[in-house]
């Protein structure tokens, strides 16, 4: 009798567990139509939240705080709750967990990843093309800024808030000391590193801890030799690293490792230590975007090396299929609008904010994702600041997409791990290629089916 009761209790617990698990599974799709950008009803001010992955004191948050305050003056009861997790891996975990629980807030940041595409297909994100066109701001955006946010099928579900150019910053004095010239081809970089090393200079400062900076180097060679389509094919398993494009890229990376291009122990060097290595005049080259203009092209920089800083853009290769003015020009993580919570208030706020944003953001000294404003050059800027800002107008049509936003997450994690081993000389190029082709072949087609 007792045993039967016990068994009944255990069975009830198990059934409850299954039921609870089942409840959490799947999630429901957005209640609203993602193309219905004109929801009916009155604007009822309330707090809306934006789950974002941007620096707390950065230009985007500063500008949006100001805009939200302006909007709240005319709409008492409105407030914008900015929930920021600047560390990208932590952010992605938070956002994906909330998505799994169907608890995403009104606005949330995401790259054009396979996960985001699933959300879009399930109707959980508003169609950004329809939204921006309806608000009359679509044509203000730089095509490159919008293209960066698009999924492979060309659909657009994220709104850009930045426009960045990634340069190779270098120290002229250290180049002179080692007797090296700016590399005109990617193939010149290993020789440049060897000479700099011989002169006792760290060739390139790299933040290896965050892994995406090293992954950029993986994308450069194929972007030059095969164009932006290569990664689109590779991630689905249609192209292989074992083909000529992939092999050339991996061999080039391997030579960067053998030439000692990056500082010793680069894999455990963090973002600020890598930057400090360059800004203190220890490292000769530093590959970073215009979001660091405030640190690299203003009087914040040590006067001793300020005048020695310059930059060059991504070198080409022999027979390059992309032009010298085409390189990594991201518009940062985009903002998606949750279709489930989209209502007249969210629409009205976005209408106000997206029209006001470019001017407020450009006034902070940053490059706007739109072309209808000019960036205010800070009073403490060096001449390099203006030159970098002007460079945005000469960027070509094709963008080198960062591979971490392209590959499926499992392949991406493995690629980041294997890249470190390749550059440290722990694995040989052919081992690297066979491992990565295996991992992408197993996970890529599944993720992009």
């Amino acid at each position: 009798m007792k045993h039967r009761k016990l068994f009944a209790a255990a069975a009830t617990t198990a059934a409850l567990a299954l039921l609870l698990t089942g409840c959490g599974a799947g999630g429901s799709s957005g209640s609203a139509d993602p193309t219905n950008i004109h929801p009916t009803g009155d604007i009822k001010p309330r707090e809306i939240s934006w789950l974002l992955s941007r620096p707390a004191d950065g230009g985007v948050i500063t500008a949006m705080k100001q805009i939200a305050d302006e909007y709240a003056k005319d709409h008492p009861g409105f407030s914008l709750n900015l929930i920021s997790t600047p560390d990208r891996p932590s952010y992605i975990q938070k956002y994906e967990t909330l998505a799994a629980a169907n608890q995403l807030p009104e606005l949330f940041d995401t790259d054009a990843t396979p996960f985001a595409q699933k959300l879009a297909k399930q109707g959980k994100m508003m169609d950004a093309t329809a939204l921006l066109k309806d608000l009359g701001v679509y044509d203000d955006y730089r095509p490159a800024a919008l293209n960066y946010q698009r999924f492979d099928d060309g659909s657009l579900y994220m709104v850009p808030f930045e426009f960045q150019l990634e340069f190779f910053w270098y120290n002229k004095a250290l180049f002179q000391q080692a007797g090296v010239q700016i590399p005109t081809s990617l193939d010149d970089i290993p020789a440049m590193c060897t000479k700099l090393r011989a002169a006792g200079i760290t060739p390139i400062a790299l933040d290896g801890q965050d892994q995406w900076p090293l992954e950029r180097y993986m994308s450069y060679y194929p972007f030059r030799t095969a164009g932006p389509d290569y990664i689109q094919s590779l991630k689905k398993g249609d192209a292989k690293l074992s083909d000529s494009t992939g092999t050339a890229a991996v061999n080039w990376l391997s030579t960067l490792g053998t030439a000692g291009c990056f500082q010793d122990g680069f894999s455990s060097t963090g973002y600020s230590d890598a930057q400090a290595s360059f800004t203190s005049g220890k490292a000769a080259v530093y590959n970073i975007g215009t979001w660091e203009l405030g640190s690299l092209a203003t009087d914040k920089l040590d006067p001793a090396i300020r005048d020695n800083i310059d930059y060059f853009t991504l070198p080409v290769t022999k027979g390059s299929v992309t032009d010298a003015n085409e390189y990594v020009s991201p518009s940062g993580i985009g903002m998606a609008v949750n279709s489930k919570t989209y209502d007249p208030l969210v629409r009205d706020f976005l209408s106000f904010a997206l029209k006001r944003y470019p001017a407020v953001y450009a006034a902070t000294g940053a490059l706007s994702p739109t072309t209808n404003v000019s960036t205010t050059i800070p009073a403490n800027a060096t001449p390099l600041y203006q030159r970098a800002v002007d460079q945005a107008n000469t960027v070509g049509d094709k963008t080198a997409m960062p591979w971490d936003t392209q590959l499926d997450p499992t392949s991406n994690t493995r690629l980041q791990q294997e890249l470190t081993l390749l550059l440290q000389g722990e694995t040989k190029p052919d081992e690297f290629i066979s491992t990565m082709d295996g991992v992408i072949g197993e996970n890529g087609p599944k993720a992009f089916k």
Binding site: T13, A14, L16, A17, L18, L20, T21, A25, G26, G27, P89, I92, Q93, E96, T97, A99, A100, F115, K118, L119, Q122, T202, G208, Q209, Q211, Q263, D264, G265, F266, S267, S268, T269, G270, D273, A276, S277, D408, P409, T410, T413, R414, Q417, E418, T420, L421, Q424, E426, T427
Partner: protein, 293 residues
């Protein structure tokens, strides 16, 4: 035998913590077990895949086995530092006549510092550029040529991420063992000394058998804690370089929250639960058998 009313009151008092334990511990384990038979990314419908996750994990996943090997290495280093270190310090502490409280507090201090702070601290300690504490000391004593990026070298990184975890809890286990050592009757040790027993004989024949029950508990605690170790390796290296410091727990976390492969991650978590139970079983078996011998 308790009277009927007392038994009822005992049951009433026992049920709430039991229910809490069921909800907080058993339910998630059952949920993981359930999920491990599915393929699920969190947002798409779940697909039943049977034992496929387990088959892939045990037969086709090289990273899983690498992480398992690393976990064993991590546990071994942590146990040597925590149990060995704790036993040595506790034994020395019993010899100390003054300042015991200060020493105890100092040793216990790392256990109360937040993990994130410890990770940052050790990141600086191990750093090569800028030169960290270890490399500075090496240079100072004339061993500048062995300066090293301890967290970037595949041959040193596992030890480098294990040491902070070992160091952190040595003080805690030292306190437990110290308390046990204090309970060893002094007359027994004195009698042994009079009979001509050496320090080692006294320790091995009298002290250690006396503290064996506490030693078993401490070993179980330290082993299961180390098997579940996650935060310091995750914060220090995120499992890198490559998979050199990847533990089952960090791999499980990445599989769940980066790859959003909740089914497969659940299979790993079930493995971690079984691994802990097996480890505890082995410890009991070894130490009990020794006690009976």
């Amino acid at each position: 035998m308790l009277p009927q009313r007392s038994r009822l009151s005992v049951l009433i008092f026992l049920i709430p913590p039991l229910a809490l334990y069921g909800i907080a511990v058993l339910l998630p384990i059952f949920q993981s077990l359930f999920l491990s038979f599915f393929d699920w990314d969190g947002i798409s419908p779940m697909t039943f895949v049977g034992a496929e996750n387990y088959i892939t994990m045990l037969t086709g996943d090289t990273v899983f086995w690498k992480a398992f090997g690393n976990t064993l290495g991590y546990v071994a280093i942590c146990l040597v530092l925590q149990l060995g270190g704790a036993l040595i310090v506790a034994s020395l502490l019993t010899l100390l006549r003054r300042g015991r409280e200060v020493v105890k507090t100092l040793y216990l201090l790392p256990a109360v510092i937040s993990t994130v702070a410890i990770a940052f601290l050790f990141q600086r300690v191990y750093s090569l550029d800028p030169v960290g504490l270890i490399n500075q000391v090496l240079a100072f004593i004339g061993l500048g040529n062995v300066q090293h990026a301890w967290l970037s070298d595949v041959s040193t990184v596992l030890a480098a991420v294990s040491i902070p975890e070992g160091w952190r809890f040595t003080g805690l286990y030292m306190l437990i063992i110290y308390a046990a050592l204090l309970a060893v009757p002094a007359e027994l040790e004195e009698a042994a000394k009079i009979d001509g027993a050496s320090w080692w004989q006294t320790f091995w024949r009298i002290r250690f058998p006396y503290i064996r029950p506490v030693w078993i508990t401490t070993t179980v605690l330290a082993t299961t804690n180390a098997l579940r170790g996650f935060d310091i390796p995750y914060l220090l290296t995120n499992g890198g370089p490559g998979q050199s410091s990847e533990l089952l727990t960090t791999y499980m976390y990445k599989t769940a929250f980066t790859s959003t492969n909740y089914g497969y991650a659940s299979a790993i978590s079930v493995f971690v639960v079984i691994e802990c139970l097996v480890a505890v079983g082995i410890i009991f078996l070894i130490l009990r058998r020794k006690a009976d011998a």
